[in-house]
């Protein structure tokens, strides 16, 4: 069985009494160590699918098993613990804590995981070093460029050594140079054996993944391993 296993997964949202079918009958399996791009036009359900994969949300119908565990059956705390230990999230709008410095942002998920303070400091410093921001540790998000913020976000995503990195349009708010840096970083992480799922509507970025899953109107319309 693959690490990520979805069968007949649908997700509906209620908007003003009407149901929006964000995802319909998605069947999907992603193995450990794969690099996958989710590609599709706006509103096709890419983010929704990524949120489901990352256990930020649970399916309305169908079954999602992560490493054999039925995610729909987990309670709020178990989901939080699973996210904390297993997934690293990178968002289009970075979503860093505005009042915290770079290293505090990176250390935050370790705090949630109960890592000792000294270890947090050490690991946060190493991670910032790794994304090339060792000299920006004491800077706040507002004092960093978009590309730098996204690299801090990647360092934060790596804080608890997750097996899966989920990136939702990580280059969407970046210029091409910073975007290329971020894509390269994600490539490196894949090279280290992590599972990478990148949401994008950029064909060029999708082309760098081993596998491209195309969505349209909440359905998987193509799944090619390149």
């Amino acid at each position: 069985m693959k690490m990520i296993q979805m069968e007949g997964v649908s997700k509906d949202y209620q908007v003003g009494g009407a149901a929006v079918h964000a995802l319909s009958e998605v069947g999907l399996a992603i193995g450990a160590g794969e690099s996958v791009a989710l590609l599709g036009p706006s509103g096709s359900g890419k983010s929704t699918l990524m949120h489901l994969i990352g256990c930020l949300d649970t399916p309305s119908r169908g079954r999602y098993r992560f490493e054999g565990r039925e995610v729909g059956r987990l309670d709020v705390n178990a989901l939080a613990a699973l996210r904390c230990a297993t997934f690293g999230f990178v968002f289009q709008r970075f979503h860093l804590m505005p009042r915290a410095t770079a290293w505090e942002n990176v250390a935050m998920p370790m705090r949630f995981a109960g890592v000792a303070p000294a270890e947090r400091l050490r690991r946060a410093a190493a991670l910032l070093e790794r994304v090339g921001l060792a000299d920006r540790a004491e800077h706040r998000p507002s004092e960093l460029s978009g590309g730098q913020q996204q690299r801090v976000a990647i360092a934060r995503a790596l804080a608890n050594q997750p097996r899966v990195i989920l990136a939702d349009e990580p280059t969407g708010n970046l210029d091409s140079v910073s975007g290329a840096e971020v894509v390269a970083l994600l490539g490196e992480l894949h090279g280290e054996g992590r599972t990478i799922v990148t949401v994008t509507h950029d064909e060029a970025i999708a082309a760098r993944a081993q596998r491209v899953i195309r969505l349209l109107d909440g359905r998987v319309v193509a799944d090619d391993s390149g």
Partner: protein, 413 residues
Amino acid sequence: MEALRLLLRDLWAEKGRNALVALGVTWGTLSLTLLVSFGWEFVAAMNQVAANYGRSILRVSSGFTSAPFEGLPAGRFVELGQEDADLIGRAVPGLRGVSVEHSRMLGNPARYRDRQLNATLIGVEASFGELRNFRPEPGGRFIDREDERLNRRVAFLGHRVRDHLFGEEDALGETIEVWGQPFTVIGVLARRTVLTNNNGEEPDKIAIPASVYRELTGRQRAEFLVVSLRDPAEEQRVERAIRELLGGRHRFDPADEDALDVFSVIELEQMIGTITSSNRALVVVVGLLGLLVAAVGVGNVIFLMVQERSREIGVQIAIGARPRQVAAARLVEGLALTLSGGLAGMLVAAILLELAATIPMDPEARAYLGTPRVSFGVAGAVVLILMTVGGLAGWLPGRRAAALDPVVALREE
């Protein structure tokens, strides 16, 4: 450490509003503490002044009969003395004690070395000290049973008498001359403020044993019989009992109001009781209202601040925080904010009261106002209540934001 750093950082980032909240708590704590401290101290001081005179005192003195009785004419003088005091003490139930008070105003030469003074002399029983609350300055004592039994020539001085005769010197154990007789000074009346006086003020008097007074002056007549009731509610009954008892002994009609003059401090006591309890009630009401206003204000601002951060909270949940962790962080923040404000308020209150205590003031006024000190019980309670409000105002919206779908928080622009 890092949690503390983050906490301080978060507080600092919103320093404007956080300062406002802390200031609100400071102000609330300060004003309530001052209000209660002053209010309570005033009440306590009033009660102390009332207690200084002695509790539930009836002061009985001689009068003239206004009607013929059992063949005797009207207009007779009713002379009171030691035997009347003894009789009342034996026959009237419900008393804390009785004492005669012989009194001779002025014209009583008292001498110590080259200094001399015309003082008011009173002759009283040992029980008088307790009844009228004649407390000695440290080291001294009041007249006791032994002094009475042995007819000792001992004197208890009003402090102004002492000041006049002894100046800065120690009076205790010294011998003064009263009416040409040597008396040993056994005590000096401690400074205090009383509600009422009779035959001059207490600090100007010299008290000696009643028996010695009678021997010295040859006068048997008691100016007053000082009677103290156990229960002030029994005033009517006790007064009637005294009139009947003395009416029988001196042959006057107990219903003849003029035969005895009975002065009561009980009404005054009760009036003070009413003033002090309504004062207390006022302090409580105003205090509770103030507390309510402070609590609502502080709670509201904290609540709004946390609510505004619901997106951040959603992100934290998304990256693996448990809802309880997030809510706990907001709780701690609310507590820290209100605690620091509260401690500041207590400190300022303590400093202000300390300063107020050093303001020079007429001792009479001081006796009625008292010297308020910070009631740490009250201050602590206020701070605890505001902390509870602050903690809840952080925790509740924090918990609510943490319970929201993180996906929604991530989608919000």
